[in-house]
Amino acid sequence: MLTIKGLKTSYGQIEALHGIDIRINSGEIVSLVGANGAGKSTLLMTISGLQPADSGTITFEGKDLLKVGADQRVANGIVQVPEGRQVFKDLSVEDNLLLGAYTRGRSQEVEDDLDRMYEKFPILRQKRRNLAGELSGGQQQMLAMGRALMAKPRLLLLDEPSMGLAPLIIEEIFNIIKELKNEGMTIFLVEQNASQALALADRGYVLETGRVVVEGTGRDLLSNEKVREAYLGM
Amino acid sequence: MMARFSDFRLKGLVFLAIVVFALPMFISNPFHYGLATQTALVAAAVVGLNLLVGFAGQISLGHAGFFGLGAYFSAIMTSNYGWSAIPALVLGAVFVAIIAWIVGRPILRLKGHYLSMATLAVGFIIAIILNNEREITGGPDGMPVPSFDVFGWELSVFGQYSLFGMDISGDLAWYLFAGVVLLVAVWLAQNLIDSPIGRALRSVHGSEVAASVVGVNTAKYKSLVFVISAVYASVMGALYGHFQGFITPSVASFDFSILLITMVVLGGMGSTIGVIIGAVVLELLPQLLADFQEMEMVLFGLILMLTMIFMPKGLLPTAANLLAKRRAKSAGGDA
């Protein structure tokens, strides 16, 4: 579904990704692990089109993604839950969710999805009239997730979705991710909670200072010595 | 970085000194001295404004008010009350500092455009007072200002002086004086920036919350830098008045406030040498464009726009970036 080849990206003079090759098949959960500063967020931002690529290719269902703008990518179904939540602080929770469906306009279907989101995250229904900025950190994280789902993504990019969530909710989030997979969604998951992420993933990649150093099935990675030592702390 | 920073600081000052003292070799015409003198004084005021805008991140759209207050204070004391210029200038600075402190306290609580608005209001109120109090200020037609004197010794553009045995004209003398004033202003400003106080100021820009939880009294520092930049403006205003020999309320006008802030942004917010370049450009540009008559305004607007579009970080920072890039490239080529 998504194929990345030889991708290089830099901030000014500093190159952050030094030629990345990644493939995500339709219906898979692919997990990306790496230390702080490895370039995980940079990669997601490049896929979403907020960070320009220097060289290499990204193809999505055979189309060259680098040729289209960020908004087009969302319309094509590539949607991201960004790091640090990035909710629209001075808009209400409901407006945030509705804007998630911006590319879909406003229809009955969207209204129904809104209801479904409230069912998934009941706290959001309770806070729907509150400004997003008033939510607690974890509540904002849920909102960010809900906003992304409102776009009806086909490829969902998750940048540390469990960050700042209570243990019960983390379980909940992982359950949701599984559910989404069952609904046929493709998911690219960046997680620090590597053991859980890899357990869930069909395949995984390990990123180290802008390079893919290990790749394999989730199970392979979980049992890989190097990964266990460096990321799972076992 | 700090090593590099202080290194750069020194380099900037030395560079500036060389420019200031070498310039007379390229000037033959007393008018150009006048222009250079005026530019140096305005640039020094802009260096002060940059402390507030570029480092502490607080926008002022009324800074000319303080410039004008300083100018008028000195003008009134010297011409109406026969004071000598130095005490007038110093007392003017104290007076302006007090005013700035009083108005600064409440308005510096404001953020962003609301702060701009409040400073704009303060500037306007000052300008209105200067404009209306005809008996004291001469009203909109302005008032003459005696030449600058240091306890009896007079500095006048029309005088003749000798310096290290050389005969120099009053224009050159004024220019050298203004140049030295600028250098001192830069030196002080750079010392301030490269210090714990300077860091605290920048942190107010970066994150007030972060600053306050490590013990920075943000209100105090904002007031402090507001007062310091007002004092800069006041002193330069006073000198400007003495140099010009005549002032009108336009020295305190909104237009001038906008010009000052434009100098900061055009030159490069937060870069002391940069904002001086901004001042030089915006002081000289109208002179260059004067020959274009009706087209002057169009060209000025166009140049201002294009510069900011293509050098959004300001002249100096953008140029420095370009240079760094080029260097990185050629270094890469070598490797």
Partner: protein, 252 residues
């Protein structure tokens, strides 16, 4: 012996939301004291109240026996309290080390005169501050970023930077709001080590965290909030087995 931090019947309401309601507890000097609870339970709000960023609706907080009701955050910092944030507060217009040096603000006594004329005392102080800051950055594990612009650092690196900044102030008590968020297991283990070291220096640590492994392993006592109210308080052992806490928060 009076407690270092003492919270009495503290409440904070935002409009109709009772973010913190009638919370009381106390923290003794030298403890590692953690606050846990579901999302939106009021943990961050509690920290904001203790550090003077919010004014309580009712109740009070005492630091070292002194009521902090009228004190600003910077005055609390002067009394030895420092913190990090869940939503990071970094000065993005500065380099990493300058951010940490900012933490030294209170220990650098400088007046306008020494500053303007750059007297030697100032340069000396700056040099020392820089060394200390570099040391701290090494200590928290972002020594490689010394002169990096803060805006060019990754999320995780910034989180550590914030801890370094808080420590630079040489606090008596430091409040950490979700320091492990965004760290992987190995990094979290390193953080645990770090917090132990901090506590080992006699600094009181208050911690909000969702990583139970970290919290349970390191805390002397725990406070559990739910809907702004105290659900439980006690040692890790007591909390781990408390059925209310399991139901509301831990799951399992």
């Amino acid at each position: 012996m009076t407690a270092l931090v003492e919270v009495r019947n503290l409440s904070k309401a935002f409009g109709g939301v009772h973010a913190v309601e009638d919370v009381s507890f106390s923290v003794d000097a030298g403890q590692v004291y953690s606050v846990i609870g579901p999302n939106g339970a009021g943990k961050t709000t509690l920290f904001n109240l203790i550090t003077g960023l919010y004014t309580p609706t009712s109740g009070e907080v005492k630091l070292n026996g002194e009521s902090i009701a009228k004190l600003q955050p910077n005055q609390l910092a002067e009394r030895g309290m420092c913190r990090t944030f869940q939503q990071m507060q970094i000065c993005m217009n500065m380099t990493a080390i300058e951010n940490v040096m900012l933490g030294r603000h209170l220990t650098l006594k400088s007046n306008l005169l020494t500053t303007l004329f750059r007297l030697p005392a100032l340069t000396r102080g700056e040099k020392a501050a820089r060394e200390k800051a570099a040391e701290l950055m090494e200590f928290v594990g972002c020594g490689e970023y010394l002169d990096t612009e803060a805006s060019a650092m990754s999320y995780g690196a910034l989180k550590r930077l914030e801890i370094a900044r808080a420590l630079a102030a040489e606090p008596k008590v430091v409040l950490l709001d979700e320091p492990a968020a965004g760290l992987n297991a190995v990094e979290t283990a390193a953080l645990e080590e770090l917090i132990r070291k901090i506590a080992g220096q006699g600094i009181t640590v208050m911690l909000v965290e969702h990583d139970m492994k970290l919290v349970m392993g390191i805390s002397d006592r725990l406070l559990v909030l739910n809907y702004g109210r105290v659900l439980a308080e006690g040692t890790p052992e007591q909390i781990r087995t408390n059925p209310d806490v399991i139901a509301a928060y831990l799951g399992g």
